[in-house]
């Protein structure tokens, strides 16, 4: 089920009604759990079995990991859990990719190996719920938090429908305590949640799907040589689409949970206003960045073992982070390019430190004291991030080079492709979006909403809802569902 569908609206109304009826807290949690299974099964019912399997294994293994004192048995349990979780992810998400690469490798070394092409369907949200359960297992192993006491709470933690399919990726301490005591949304939470839901749907339905996706698809699917203008407009369109699609989903998820009285972690914080790449990763898909930092970068050594180890950890984290997004070398290249950016940024930062300047201090001062300089840095960051999107969106390196050639005028003069209307849509939406990010970079949308007069907020909110109705787009999947 997707948030931008009539089915979800009907489903959500029923859930809200059930959640506000005078049932016991346990019954309400069972309702939420069953609803979450319905939400998930509405895509492909058989895959619910995988979710159950993952939940049951991790609940019991997690508990055993916490209580087991024998270090060997503990390690064995951890390895078994990792094999179970990552094995499932590898099979469904990377099975075809691994086989293709294996075949390519065997062919290169001279073996004539051509197995039948497997037909594996990717279960929705498997990358997200695998990471959710993995962090629980690792936390239990390291005794970072207490094991979840009830199977019901654990199942709800893994399956809670607002975050199940595309995050935010939650940690047990963020959500499990919220299930332990009865809770109902306050009036403020309820209407804040509704506002966020409308805003998220506006971002996804009106802007990402209605205004930008067609232009991005046209340019990235083009086989002919493109003029530089068309290439840049298509890239900007995707840059806007990927943010509005994914941040739109996260905003909906946070809003839906808030309407039920639950608080999910923030996942986006105006990333296109980031000054530098480490700042970008503190603002883009925050819950994934934090997961990768805590469960990959730091275990790899982080910045505690010298400069070179830090560079190594950074790059490995970004390469694997890229691969998490999809079973394709282009995603690895995307991660690698981000790793390279982070290397350069770290190099400059270290160099400045040697000169006695605090880079962080300088960055923090830009928006306040030199806004235009700060904006310039943010714009430069945005432009460099755009280059990475080429590899993220293009499904082959051939297409990526093709587009890069057009972007930098290396390719021959191409045939214009985009209509003036398509160019205008991108040219209007992207600058407004960037400006909005810049102006909002140090605040939150709900803070601004509560500062506005009731009628100006009402007018803005009405405009969002009317645009949603007018767009008449519904039901298309969110981009991150495929990851």
């Amino acid at each position: 089920m997707v948030f931008n569908s009539y089915t979800f609206i009907a489903f959500f109304i029923i859930i809200l009604l059930l959640h506000h009826l005078p049932f016991s807290w346990r019954v309400k949690k069972i309702n939420l759990l069953l609803a979450s299974y319905v939400f998930y099964a509405a895509w492909n019912p058989p895959f619910i079995l995988l979710l159950w399997l993952s939940t049951v294994i991790d609940f019991f293994v997690g508990r055993a990991l916490f209580t087991e004192e024998n270090p060997h048995k503990k390690k064995l349990l951890l390895v078994l859990s990792l094999i179970g979780n990552l094995g499932m992810l590898c099979f469904f998400k990377y099975g075809t990719f691994l086989l293709e690469n294996f075949v390519a490798l065997t062919n290169v070394i001279g073996f004539d190996f051509h197995p039948a092409k497997p037909s594996i369907i990717l279960p929705a949200g498997i990358s997200f719920y695998t990471f959710t359960t993995l962090c629980y297992t690792i936390d239990m192993y390291k005794k970072r938090s207490e094991p979840v006491k009830s199977m019901l709470d654990f199942s709800l933690f893994v399956t809670f429908f607002p975050h199940l399919v595309a995050g935010p990726i939650v940690r047990p301490p963020q959500l499990v305590p919220q299930f332990e005591a009865p809770r109902k949304a306050t009036q403020q939470q309820f209407f804040d949640g509704l506002l966020l839901l409308c805003l998220g749907l506006f971002m996804k339905v009106v802007l990402a799907d209605g205004m930008l996706s067609g232009t991005a698809d046209t340019v990235f699917n083009a086989t002919q040589v493109l003029p530089t203008l068309d290439a840049w407009i298509g890239l900007f369109a995707f840059s806007g689409q990927i943010f509005l699609d994914f941040a739109g989903y996260s905003t909906c998820a946070i809003g839906v949970a808030l309407c039920l009285g639950f608080v999910l972690p923030q996942n986006f914080n105006y990333p296109y206003a980031a000054i530098g790449f480490s700042d970008f990763w503190k603002r883009w898909h925050i819950t994934l960045s934090a997961w990768l930092r805590d469960y990959l970068y730091i275990p790899l050594g982080g910045n505690r073992h010298g400069k070179w180890r830090t560079y190594f950890s950074l790059m490995v984290t970004m390469l694997l982070g890229g691969l998490w997004h999809g079973a394709n070398w282009t995603f690895v290249a995307w991660g690698g390019l981000h790793g390279l950016y982070l290397w350069i940024e770290k190099f400059i930062r270290d160099h400045r430190k040697l000169k006695g300047e605090s880079h962080q201090q300088l960055l923090a001062e830009y928006p306040a004291h030199k806004p235009w300089l700060g904006f310039l840095y943010a714009f430069l960051t945005f432009m460099l991030i755009n280059i990475t999107w080429v590899f993220f969106r293009a499904d082959t390196f051939g297409k990526a080079w093709h587009l890069l050639g057009a972007l930098f005028g290396i390719a021959a003069e191409g045939q214009p492709l985009l209509t003036t209307l398509a160019i205008l849509k991108v040219s209007v939406i992207l600058p407004i979006m960037l400006l909005f990010h810049w102006l909002m970079r140090d605040t939150k949308v709900l803070e601004v909403a509560h500062r506005l007069s009731w009628w100006s907020l009402g007018l803005a909110w009405s405009a969002l809802v009317l645009c949603l109705i007018w767009a008449q787009e519904s039901g298309s999947s969110f981009i991150y569902f495929q990851f």
């Binding site: 009539y6 089915t7 099964a41 895509w43 509704l194 205004m211 209307l421 009402g458 909110w461 009405s462």
Partner: protein
């Protein structure tokens, strides 16, 4: 503003949105506009699922836009008692749909294929885009999408303003027809009054369209635009045409092997459009060869005086009154061909 006060703006939103939506609805209805359904993949898939009904009670129609205008489903069902499942898709080649039905072992029914030569004998990917999209959607449709479709039907049945092709934000922006750079392809915009779609997927022209020559000329202009594009395209190599005949023969044979029946129909066109089609697609080379290759019966409108005289308002499709007459005579011709077209058969 206190922290609890979003209730007030929320109530304001409910009131304002309701008023604006009602105003638009009243305005559109005052302009004589009627309910039209979004003829996208969900509606197509809804009808595609009906091809498994018993073959003596159902006939499936595939093709391009003509059969969607020319077959009056109410007349058909009233006279025959047989359910007409309309799977034709405008502006497209029906071969992907034929292939889908041929490869579906559960489809054993009767199939009428409308042949618009310029689209049927065409390998341009854009002409196969929508059929492929619809077929893919049907096979991958989730329970959530089916539920959304059911809810959407309730809303579409009540609100004129829900008309994605003509009244949505993007449709209104497209209507501005902002000129583009030379060489950029701009899809022509069909007038709203030309494209009204029922839930059964029958298309019809509104009374306004039939009254106003300007609207008819707008569509004639669009046909001229496409014809000019087609003239510039190189002729199809013989081997490609042979491959098309071979694929149609193979797919028809698959359906027949399961006990199904297939019939081809060439629905009416008129004026310069018809002249162009006769020149571009000589009967002997296309229509006659199609029947000979597949061994299927065929009904060409030019062969039957009862249906050879229609004047299409925009040269290519029948108005609703003529669709009724065409359908009545079409049923009669089918009977003459030995096709059982009454539910009692």
């Amino acid at each position: 503003m206190t922290q609890n006060s979003l209730l007030k703006p929320a109530l304001f939103v409910v009131c304002l949105v309701t008023v604006v939506v009602l105003c638009f609805e009243i305005y559109y209805r005052s302009q004589g506009m009627t309910i039209a359904y979004d003829d996208g993949p969900p509606l197509w898939s809804h009808h595609r699922a009906m091809v498994y009904e018993p073959s003596e009670k159902t006939i499936v129609f595939i093709g391009s836009s003509r059969i969607k205008y020319d077959l009056d489903i109410a007349t058909w069902e009233q006279l025959t008692g047989i359910h007409a499942v309309q799977l034709a898709i405008e502006g497209s080649c029906p071969r992907p749909v034929l292939e889908d039905l041929a490869n579906d072992p559960n489809f054993k029914g009767r199939l009428v294929i409308d042949v618009t030569e310029g689209l049927f004998f065409n390998n341009n990917p854009p002409n196969q885009l929508n059929p492929n999209k619809d077929v893919k959607y049907f096979h991958e449709q989730t329970p959530a999408q089916e539920a959304s479709f059911a809810l959407n039907k309730v809303l579409e049945s009540g609100l004129v303003l829900l008309d994605k092709d003509h009244l949505s934000l993007n449709a209104k922006l497209d209507e501005l027809e902002i000129p583009s750079r030379p060489g950029v392809f701009m899809m022509p915009i069909f007038p709203l009054d030309f494209e009204r779609c029922t839930f059964e997927r029958q298309m019809y022209m509104s009374p306004k369209f039939l009254r106003e020559p300007a609207l008819q000329n707008q569509v004639k202009g669009i046909w001229a635009f496409f014809a000019a594009g087609a003239k510039k395209a190189p002729p199809m190599p013989d081997k490609d045409l042979d491959a098309i005949f071979a694929s149609v023969k193979k797919n028809v044979a698959k359906i027949q092997a399961r006990g199904g029946q297939v019939l081809f129909v060439r629905t009416p066109s008129s004026g310069p459009y018809l002249q162009g089609e006769l020149m571009g697609f000589p009967r002997a080379k296309y229509w006659e060869r199609l029947l000979a290759t597949t061994g299927c019966p065929g009904i060409h409108f030019k062969d039957y005086p009862a249906i050879d005289h229609f004047e299409c308002p925009e040269f290519s499709h029948l108005k609703k009154a003529d669709a009724v007459v065409f359908t009545q005579n079409f049923i009669q011709i089918l009977k003459e061909k030995g096709w059982p077209v009454s539910a009692s058969n």
